[in-house]
Structure formats: C-alpha cells, structure tokens
C-alpha cells in the first residue's frame, strides 16, 4: 500500500470531487445529510414519542453524532464490500491491490466524517467554553475504524464473490446496526441483560461512545473496551491481508 500512497491520496481527492461535482453545496452535504436525518429522528422521538434528553445531553446533538458515525461505518463498509465488482477492471489490469482501493474508500468517507464533525466540534467547544483535550482520542478512534473497515471490507468482497445472494441481504443485515447501536437511546435505558450485553459488545457502540466522549458530548468512555477492540482489529488485519492476497482469483469469478 505504501508504494501507492500518492495514488491513494489523489484518488481520495478526486473521489470527493466527483461525488460533489455539479452540486451547489458541495462537501457541505457531509453535515447537511446527517443533520436532516437527525432532525427527522429528533422530531419522531421528541415530538411524537416524547423521549427526553439522554444522559443530560442535548438530544439533537446525541442523535446527530450517532447518525454521523453510523452513516460513515455503513456507507464505507457497503461500498468497500462492492469493490470486487466496481473496480473489477482496474484490479484485473493494474498492480493495485484490493487493500489500496479499500483504503481510498475509507479515506474519502473519513473526510466526510471529519467535515461533518466540524460543526459539532465547534458547537461543543462553544457550549463547554473550551476546546476539549479529549479530541486527542479522535485519531485513535479513526485508526480503530480504519482497521475494522479494512478487514470487514476485504471479508465482504470475499463473501460476495462466493454468495451473490448476500450482496442483496447485507444492507439489511448491517441495517440491524441502526437498532443495535445507541444512536437515539442510551445504554441505561435498555431493559434486559441480554439486550444490554448484545448492544454493549457491538464494536460500533464502543466506537460511538468514544466518539461522543472525544467531542465532549458524553462523559462515559471505556478505555479498556477501546483497547480491546483495537487489539481485535489488529488481529483481524493479518486475516484481511491474507484475503487481499488471494482475492484476484475471485475477481475472475465475478467477471
């Protein structure tokens, strides 16, 4: 991947450029999109269902941060998992590996995540009247997400090359994360030990709590859990590398 670092950089830049080409608001959609989603969820839960602030946190900010991370994770995983189809010709005719294309997908979506986080970060800094030192967690969290998405993306490409049906099912399966991640509810509000365990062991829950903590939205963070999922991610890395090395045979299968 190091050999193609400039290719990754340039491709990421151009991918973002193409994504917003011709659009009046351009990259501003990175936070308009999750904002609109958050507004709808906020309205449904606050006005229709009467849900109050969670953990003494502004409910809208709580939802917005959740939507931002969830969108990033799902969009990256689903589009990264499709690379065996979308970049098939490039993989057949150049020396660029699946890992490199995955890195480009993750990087371009990370830019969106960062841009989407800026207004949130500014709002929180003004509200708390300080620039939170907790932001130091953010690069660490991005690193964890990068490793997990790289491994997950490589795995999805392999699964799709064997079971085409799962390509249709995967968005629905991953859609479960919307409910199994505390986007619009808190861990404390969950009833039943089983549900708490399932949601608690969801890596996205841990990442999201870290993200909210780093932006000063909540005060709960389990550094130990973050370290554990970092190590799990590192353990997944060689598996992803192994998959990536053997993927070319599969690329032929989906021609």
């Amino acid at each position: 991947m190091y050999k193609f670092r400039w290719f990754i950089f340039e491709s990421t830049r151009l991918e973002i450029k193409i994504r917003y080409r011709g659009s009046l608001l351009g990259i501003l959609w990175s936070f308009i999109n999750p904002s609109l989603q958050a507004v709808i969820i906020f309205f449904v839960f606050r006005e229709v269902l009467g849900v109050q602030d969670i953990e003494n946190v502004d409910f809208f900010v709580y939802i917005y941060s959740g939507v931002l991370v969830l969108n990033f994770f799902l969009t990256t995983l689903l589009s990264g998992g499709e690379l065996i189809f979308s970049k098939n010709h490039l993989m057949r005719n150049t020396q660029i590996s699946l890992h490199t294309f995955l890195a480009i997908t993750i990087a371009s979506n990370t830019i969106n995540l960062i841009v989407g986080s800026i207004p949130l970060s500014i709002y929180m800094s003004i509200k708390e009247n300080l620039f939170s030192a907790r932001l130091i967690y953010l690069p660490f969290l991005l690193g964890i997400m990068f490793i997990w998405l790289l491994a997950g993306g490589a795995l999805l490409n392999m699964i799709y090359s064997r079971f085409l049906d799962l390509r249709q099912l995967m968005p629905i399966i991953l859609g479960l994360l919307v409910y199994l991640t505390p986007i619009y509810y808190s861990m404390q509000s969950l009833s039943g030990q089983f549900l708490k365990t399932v949601v608690g062991f969801n890596p996205l829950t841990i990442i999201l709590s870290g993200f909210r903590f780093s932006l000063g939205i909540t005060d709960n963070i389990s550094t130990l859990a973050l370290i554990i999922i970092w190590f799990i991610g590192m353990a997944l890395w060689p598996i992803a590398s192994r998959i990536s090395r053997d993927y070319r045979e599969k690329v032929w299968a989906v021609q």
């Binding site: 400039w6 340039e10 151009l14 993989m91 090359s161 079971f163 085409l164 049906d165």
Partner: protein, 249 residues
C-alpha cells in the same frame, strides 16, 4: 539466472474457478448434491499450464495464439497482477503493464487528472508526476485537451494518452496487450519507435496481438500459446509460419 535474462518462468500454472451462474448463489450451496460437489471440483479453467520460458534483455517478443490461449494471463502473471498456483517467476527490474486502456482511465475526470492518477497508479511520486506531466501531453500531442474531460477524446486519442503515460519512464519489462491495434498510423509508428528505443536501451518488450503483421514487424522472437501451453518459442518468422500452417489446417 543468466544476467541477460530479465524474466524467468518455471512450471508456471494458473487456474481459476469457472464458477459461472451455477455456483454463485446461496441456493446451490444449500441444495448442493454429490454430483454438484464433483462439478465444483472439476470446474477449473487452466489458463497457463506448466509454462517455462525465459525472456532476455533486448528481446521484443510477440505472443500469439487463439482466443483463450492464455496470452493475457501470461502478461498478468509476469506483471505480478496474478499469483500463479504453482511454479516460480523471477522478474528483474521495473515492469510496466499496458492493458485494456478503458479500464484505467476515468471518463468523469479531465485529461490532466487522468494523467496524474494513472502516473500515481504506476507508483510514481508527486514530484515525479509534476516533472513528467508536460512530457506526457507533448508526446501524445494532446496539449490542447489538458483540462477537457476524457470523454471528449476519441478512443484512439485516449489510447495515445495512456500509452504516453505508461511509457514515460523507461521500464525494464514492458507488457503490451492489444494496445497497438487502436489508434491511427502515426500513433502506431510513434509507439513502435518508442518500444524500439526501450529495446535498444536493454529493456524487454512482450507484445500480445492478433494482428500478425504487428508481430512480424515489431518482434524478433515469438511465443505461440495454445490452451495455456507453449507450443513453440523461437525466431518470429519460423513461429509465425508454423502458426499460419496450423490455422490453415
């Protein structure tokens, strides 16, 4: 390995699963029978079968054969795009594969953006790319199209641009797959000249083409492949004669 040998292949075999429609769905996995299992194991396409061959500095080698003979696969294996299931490959030096133009260039980007991206795809640094940008456009005679979208170019012009990108740096091994058949006479002559320069400078060129006049004109040696096996390797004219005879029969 002989010092002049740049590419050495020993017993190289590459097969791929011919999965087709009967394999790639969940239903077949769930309901598969013993007969189906047997089919899966047997259903492998051999693209290269125990290929052993050397290519030396200064050689311009044509690769001929019918469709599906394994010509493009041979280039991909040498380029490192495909890893053979068995056998060994030793390649000394920098390899530049020039294959399927359309797949590398992006119609949504401008010519300049495409050139930058493609040069990076060959592993070039930002500084190297900036230094070579003018040269690429000058060689391809497309300076006026710098900021035009790639889709504004004809396929011949696009191939000229891509050839210029790929050959800006002198490679040790250049692999060309049917690229020379696209484009006008002037482009072909320029491309031949550039390849000849590389060969003079000690590179080796491998050219896949169904146009035997290109092979005859450009190459001094020729490989004839059939069903993934080397049928003949030697001086171009004698290989071409045998190939012609076999096609007439």
């Amino acid at each position: 390995m002989n010092r002049d040998v740049v590419v050495e292949l020993r017993d190289v075999t590459w097969t791929y699963p011919r999965m087709g429609n009967h394999f790639l769905n969940l239903k077949n996995y769930v309901t598969r029978t013993r007969h189906f299992n047997r089919l899966l194991k047997a259903d492998k396409q051999t693209s290269l079968s125990s290929v052993s061959i050397d290519f030396a500095r200064g050689d311009c080698v044509g690769i001929i054969g019918r469709n599906g003979a394994g010509k493009s696969t041979l280039l991909r294996v040498i380029a490192g795009i495909l890893k053979p299931q068995s056998g060994s490959i030793i390649v000394s030096g920098h390899v530049t594969p020039i294959m399927e133009l359309g797949s590398v260039l992006n119609g949504q980007l401008t010519c300049k953006e495409n050139v930058i991206l493609a040069l990076h795809a060959f592993g070039w640094s930002k500084r190297q790319v900036n230094n070579k940008l003018k040269e690429v456009f000058a060689w391809s005679e497309l300076e006026n199209y710098l900021n035009e979208p790639l889709s504004a170019l004809s396929s011949g012009m696009a191939s000229r641009l891509y050839f210029s990108i790929a050959t800006t740096q002198k490679p040790d091994v250049v692999l060309i797959d049917e690229v020379l058949s696209v484009g006008d006479q002037k482009f072909r002559e320029k491309a031949y000249e550039r390849i000849a320069e590389f060969i003079k400078g000690g590179s080796v060129a491998l050219i896949v083409s169904h146009d035997l006049s290109v092979i005859e004109k450009m190459t001094n040696k020729c490989v004839w492949l059939e069903n993934g096996k080397v049928i003949m390797y030697g001086v171009t004219m004698s290989v071409l004669e045998s190939y012609w005879k076999s096609t007439i029969q």
